[in-house]
């Protein structure tokens, strides 16, 4: 199949959308409601392109290319249409950027800047929408920042399969609402799908701008799936967990534990020194003392009651290497197969 995009002759496979072909060829078409893992619904119309012989522009994200198409992605007319779409989105947008979690990595900001939308010819008298409870306390929904792309709703439906959210109301009253709040598993997939700051996380009281934080790639230590994570670190403290769509087998998807369960890392209650029970008290001690105490007791018990009187219980939060060594120790040194771990944390 032969098509032309912005004057470039392209040989493409059948069945691909205009957007997919353009992306492969390195031609940039802006999108807002489109997400690779969701079905394209063509609702925001940011991706409009002109096709020769077509009366109206078409949305690139859900229009399959057909042989002989001549497409233009960046004409004056198209740019103006996109500008107008952005103006509509901004009509009642709150002046929140400075206090918005998303400022600096917000798709709406980027598009407005890219398209130089600097004046607003339209006005509307609509009251600000009220805040309401979301389906999980880990997430807050800011109705006035929402651009109605429905990425959250579709992610919950198509990726997570929980079908919690829907758009309620219409026109300027429209908002995303948890219509089946009981089905929510607090996975935060909707949060990560939101291109703007309409869904924000409430777990960390500390926030950091994208240029202040360091994103450290790592593997989730909660379960055996081993999802790829990025710890968002500010001043040596984890303030958020994100994940890269291109990394690992989880492809940008996480569960509630991986996404929100990071507070323990900074908890002041974590044990950092060994404790020995003396009488009724747990007393801080040195590693030397603790280890020789354990060693002498284990030897004593083993000699008196036999190896099988001892069992080892390890933690699933340890690394594979640690756990391997632990079972080796129990099996080879203590001499028993009584070893397990708390896999289902």
């Amino acid at each position: 199949m032969q098509i032309v995009i912005d004057g470039k002759n392209i040989t493409a496979d059948h069945g691909l959308t205009i957007l997919e072909i353009a992306k492969k060829e390195g031609i940039h078409i802006p999108t807002l409601c489109f997400m690779e893992k969701l079905l394209p619904i063509g609702s925001c119309r940011m991706c409009v392109v002109e096709v020769e012989g077509y009366e109206n522009p078409v949305t690139a994200c859900n229009t399959p290319a057909v042989d002989g198409m001549v497409i233009r992605t960046n004409t004056e007319k198209i740019r103006n249409m996109r500008k107008d779409i952005l103006r509509f989105l901004l009509i009642n947008h709150p002046l929140d950027c400075p206090i918005c979690d998303k400022g600096g990595e917000c798709l709406l900001q980027d598009l407005v800047y890219e398209y130089n939308v600097d004046v607003q010819p339209y006005t509307i008298k609509a009251p600000l929408k009220e805040y309401k409870e979301y389906s999980t306390p880990a997430i807050k929904y800011h109705p006035n920042r929402c651009v109605m792309c429905s990425r959250c709703i579709r992610t919950c439906r198509e990726v997570v399969g929980r079908n919690v959210l829907d758009i309620v109301g219409n026109g300027f009253d429209a908002r995303v609402e948890p219509v089946n709040p009981d089905r929510c598993i607090a996975c935060g997939e909707c949060l990560s799908a939101c291109p703007v700051g309409a869904l924000t996380e409430t777990v960390s009281p500390t926030k950091g701008r994208i240029w202040q934080i360091k994103r450290v790639p790592t593997v989730c230590a909660y379960c055996g799936v081993g999802c790829s994570l990025e710890l968002n670190v500010l001043d040596n403290k984890i303030i958020k967990v994100t994940t890269d769509v291109n990394a690992g087998m989880n492809k940008g998807v996480l569960c509630a534990k991986g996404r929100f369960g990071y507070e323990f890392v900074n908890s002041p209650e974590r044990l950092t020194k060994p404790l020995i029970r003396k009488g009724n008290e747990l007393v801080e001690t040195t590693w030397d003392e603790a280890l020789s105490f354990v060693a002498s007791k284990l030897t004593e018990i083993k000699n008196k009651y036999g190896s099988d009187s001892i069992a080892g219980l390890a933690s699933a939060r340890c690394t594979n290497e640690d756990n391997y060594l632990f079972q080796k120790f129990i099996r080879a040194v203590i001499g028993t197969n009584n070893v397990d771990h708390c896999a289902r944390l």
């Binding site: 103006r87 901004l90 002046l95 950027c97 400075p98 600096g104 709406l108």
Partner: protein, 391 residues
């Protein structure tokens, strides 16, 4: 006894009140006569040029204030002109005239410091207070427009930080109307003073040929009779439309350079008078939303403006690949910026051409064979600021 033993080495500075900043000059003396003078610079080195490579184009403006900090506004201008040239931005007429006003106020402010300290170095203390009386008024005006007295960063890429506040023009007119009389005052205090004459006439002579071959610019060049001024040679901000003379000396001694700068004070005031008449109404920023900050009152009301403010402020803007050199006539001579852009939001190379650096390099030649006391008079006369030399 070896040849070298004949000379006594004396360190003048870096903590010396008459070296105008932290300059050290190693003097090799034969009695009171200078055999060799070696300027040692670098005490004020901040790495501005290197820093420039890791700051956005907007952030770099504040570093320019701190070059020749006696006349920060011209430095802002030179840098902004370079970036504007690279990006093909034309600023509105009103902004151009205000830029001229600020440039000439800077020149006056800088020359007043020169006069005050030059005279003080040689022992004429009274004048110091007269000069600072007028300089204060200029700093007050800068405070009005920018909130800052020494480091205003008022001139911005694409225009100005903000329009002139209410009451500014009245202050300016009052200043302009009285300033000529003040210059006469300085003139009376110094020009015929026998001590002043003894310390400046026929001291520190630079011939026109030397001045040119050493690459001097500014009053240090014009004092030797070379009529060259960037405002005439390569006009910017519409300087070609103003009437003013470029004063020159004949002999190239300290006194000639003194007369040149005194006349420049008057000529700057002459330009200010024309600028006041010329100042049109209109915008003070070019309309390039992706580069120029929107007006603050819009930012507080309008999400489009807020987003632009956020994006430009946090990430800066990208500048097309290319390189550029632009220069202005500041109070000391040519101040130029050479910028190479690799297409990102920070310069790939950020180079500053400083007239002070070049003019100071001539010091060893000028003072060779003269008396030790003349070093102070010559340093004052070639008028240097270490903030620009060391960078």
């Amino acid at each position: 006894m070896s040849e070298q033993k004949k000379y006594m080495t004396l360190n003048m500075g870096p903590q010396h009140p008459a070296t105008h900043g932290v300059l050290k000059v190693i003097l090799e003396l034969e009695g009171e006569v200078i055999h060799r003078a070696i300027p040692v610079i670098g005490h004020l080195h901040r790495g501005v040029e290197k820093l420039g490579e890791s700051k956005t184009y907007i952030q770099n403006i504040v570093y320019t204030d701190r070059l020749d900090y006696t006349s920060a506004m011209i430095n802002n201008l030179a840098y902004c002109l370079a970036v504007e040239k690279l990006m093909n931005i034309e600023v509105p007429e009103r902004a151009k005239v205000i830029r001229v006003i600020m440039s000439e106020l800077s020149r006056i402010a800088a020359h007043l410091i020169w006069l005050a300290t030059h005279a003080l170095d040689i022992g004429a203390m009274t004048l110091y207070f007269y000069c600072f009386r007028e300089r204060e008024k200029i700093l007050d005006m800068w405070e009005m427009v920018s909130g800052q007295r020494l480091t205003p960063s008022y001139i911005r890429i694409g225009g100005l930080l903000a329009d002139l506040p209410e009451g500014f023009m009245d202050k300016l007119k009052e200043f302009v109307d009285t300033f000529d009389a003040h210059v006469d005052e300085y003139d009376k205090l110094l020009s015929k003073n026998p001590i002043w004459l003894a310390r400046t006439k026929d001291i520190g002579i630079i011939s026109a040929e030397d001045a040119i071959s050493w690459g001097l610019t500014g009053p240090a060049l014009r004092g030797s009779g070379v009529k060259f001024d960037y405002r005439k040679a390569q006009p910017y901000c519409g300087y070609e439309e103003y009437e003013f003379d470029v004063p020159v000396g004949s002999k190239g001694d300290n006194y000639d350079r003194y007369l040149v700068r005194m006349e420049e004070l008057r000529q700057s005031n002459r330009i200010l008078k024309q600028a006041i008449k010329r100042l049109p109404e209109g915008p003070i920023k070019a309309h390039v939303p992706e580069i120029v900050f929107p007006d603050k009152d819009l930012v507080l009301k309008n999400i489009e403006a807020l987003i632009h403010q956020f994006k430009i402020g946090c990430g800066g803007f990208t500048v097309p690949k290319g390189e550029v050199y632009a220069s202005v006539e500041n109070a000391k001579g040519e101040l130029g910026f050479y910028i190479v852009s690799d297409g990102s939001s920070m310069p790939y190379r950020f180079r500053i051409k400083s007239s002070c650096f070049v003019n100071l390099s001539a010091l060893p030649e000028i003072v060779k064979g003269s008396m030790i006391a003349d070093v102070v008079a010559v340093i004052g006369s070639i008028d240097i600021v270490l903030g620009e030399i060391d960078r």
